[in-house]
Amino acid sequence: MTDLLGTGRKAANERTQLVRAGLRRRHRNEQAFRILGIVAICCALGFVALLFTDVLRKGIPAFHQATLHLDVTYDPTLLNVDPVPERTAGQSDADFNAARLAWQRSVAMLNWNKVVEAALRTVTPAGLEIDSRQLLTIPETNARHVIREAFVANPNLLGRTRSFDLLASANVDNWVKGNIDRELGDAQQQMPAQARALVDGWVADGTITQDFAWGLFTNVDSRAAPASAGLAGAFMGSLYMMLVVIVLAVPIGVASAIYLEEFAPKSRLTDLIEVNINNLAAVPSIVFGLLGAAVFINFFHLPRSAPLVGGLVLTLMTLPTIIIATRAALQGVSPALRQAALGLGASKTQMVFHHVLPVTFPSILTATIIGVAQALGETAPLLLIGMNAFVASVPGSIVDQATALPVQIFLWQGNENRNFFEARTSAAIMVLLGLMILLNAVAIFLRTRLERRA
């Protein structure tokens, strides 16, 4: 012992040797941990890169879609339609409206496919034999509606010709993009040989081009006309839900956190509440869906598939996140600031609202945006309250039937038209990820901005 702690030259040298011996091992450990860390980061980055490349590779083609450029003639011989009813003198509003409705109904009853077919025939090479059924598989089935709507909007088109950009069917899109093996036999092809030849010819002469798929953003989901399926309905559904979440979860969450942290007496009850809030944050989201179905739909009889109910469920799910993050932010405020305010004679409320909240505002805002982003991406609870229903309209309010972006991705992923919807699904994922990145960027921007000002 005395030797080890000796103060002589020899003892000091021995100690140095011991330290050196240990030093090598310490350096080795440090090196090992550094390498482990780098490997972990590389793995994580690799997986993220893999995910993004896969999504981008599959999704980007979906933003362009095979489109037919056709001159459509509203041929009076095909369209046996009365002139639009004019308002006669002395006619009542109700009679006039009834007459207009009857006219619209008669227009809808016409066989518009004949008009489409005639337009297609004008660009079909003379030598090619193709029957009408096969010919009509080339444009998407909604082509006749597009042409009819244009006519209803402008009845003067009768006897005239107008050019249209019509979506090609999903099969044509696949064929044009090369998603289908050209060497496969007729029996395995999705389109008959004449139609394939015709499409190839149209691609060559520019009748079919790949245009930017605005429909992906402006159209609602569609099963009858898959090529026209879009995200507008799901986007609005998600937007309404986010509104409900922001309006409910943010004030309730922040107010609960402020009360619990600043005003509530420390008692067994508040401890219990705190533990429960922390546990709620770990509850699987699907449980919140069950709760929503049981409480909001079965008990309160709120409408099924409505953004209101979806928003309420997501609010419940987001609340713990917001409360926990806000409390953490409040706990992080230095006691010196509180004492400064109290020492001047500020009341507790004044201390909280004049000093503590302004300082924590950036953190609370970030927590809120991240909570909302999490809610935006949530799917499971929405399935249980009927938001996976097929909804072919844009919701006009929070009580209309709607679906949400992540649910739309889920629905498209399960669509039987795999060839076509695989790309659509990835495109929808890109839109959702884009929104998420946007939300997070806003959070970061606001945070740095507010922190710089403070």
Binding site: K266, S334, A336, L337, R338, Q339, A340, A341, L342, G343, L344, G345, A346, S347, Q350, H354, H355, P358, V359, A454
Partner: protein, 286 residues
């Protein structure tokens, strides 16, 4: 620095050499105790849960003078200071017993609003803690919440004269809109003093106001305290016996939650009655 070191050497040698301010006091030794009494404490006890932090403190604080509390760390001097403006209320599990009276009014009277009390008894803390707002807002905040200014002109006047009294105005007059947290440590502490003065308190409590400052900033604050005693009753907690000797007229020595000895500063430092006080002043405990 050399001044401080010299003072320390002298003190250790047992021959206390007073600085300029203390010499003034020495000329009128009865000055501190002849003053009217502003604050009286009787049998003040504080419990933090089961632990008793203060054992029956009784002391009178004279008007318009500086009273210093000295003693080793954990002796209860800060705890007692925080009883005076009821800052202990904010600490979970703290229980205060006994009475503290400001001008005969019980500070712990349940009918007395703590907000009003703290407007009358200002406080300056150990670490400068300006609000993360502009210099102007820092000083204007107190008058604003208490409704002391009728209009903007009044408020401007309060802010400027408070900054003047705190000896900070000349240094910051061109940047009142800049953040108070951007000032140096000593300036921040003077800003905190200005902020306390702006409410128009009768008593100012200072909890080791110089412990986070360098010697030059400390000297400026000490000078300021000496000026302020013309108009305010000041109670200061300090670790530095030299500081107590320099700025205060009355000194109280705390040890292990007890008030061991109190009296005119000069008497305490030159002629302590109690053995423990002697030991502390000679540097044998603490």
């Amino acid at each position: 620095m050399t001044n401080l070191e010299n003072a320390q050497m002298d003190m250790l040698a047992g021959k206390v050499k007073m600085t300029q301010q203390s010499v003034n006091t020495a000329m009128n030794p009865s000055d501190a105790l002849d003053r009217p009494i502003r604050l009286t404490a009787r049998d003040v006890t504080v419990h933090y849960g089961a632990k008793q932090a203060l054992h029956g403190i009784s002391i009178d604080i004279p008007d318009r003078a500086v009273t210093s509390f000295i003693g080793p760390s954990g002796c209860g001097k800060s705890t007692f200071l925080r009883c005076i403006n009821r800052m202990n209320d904010t600490i979970e599990g703290a229980k205060v017993g006994g009475t503290i009276k400001l001008d005969g009014e019980d500070v712990y009277d349940p009918n007395l609003d703590v907000v009003e009390l703290r407007a009358r008894i200002g406080m300056v803390f150990q670490k400068p803690n300006p609000f993360p707002k502009s210099i102007y807002e820092n000083v204007a905040y107190g008058p604003r919440i208490h409704g002391l200014a009728r209009n903007k002109a009044d408020l401007d006047e309060i802010v400027i004269s408070s900054l003047r009294k705190a000896g900070l105005f000349e240094e910051v007059k061109d940047r009142l809109g800049e953040a108070g947290t951007g000032l140096s440590g000593g300036q921040q502490q003077r800003l905190c003093i200005a902020r306390a003065i702006a409410v128009g308190p009768e008593v100012i409590l200072m909890d080791e106001p110089c412990s986070a400052l360098d010697p030059i900033a400390t000297a400026i604050i000490e000078e300021l305290i000496d000026e302020l005693r013309e108009n305010y009753t000041i109670v200061i907690v300090t670790h530095s016996m030299q500081q107590a000797a320099r700025v205060s007229q009355k000194t109280a020595f705390f040890h292990l939650g007890n008030l061991i000895e109190e009296g005119v500063t000069e008497d305490i430092f030159t002629n302590p009655v109690n053995k423990q006080t002697q030991d502390y002043i000679m540097g044998r405990i603490g």
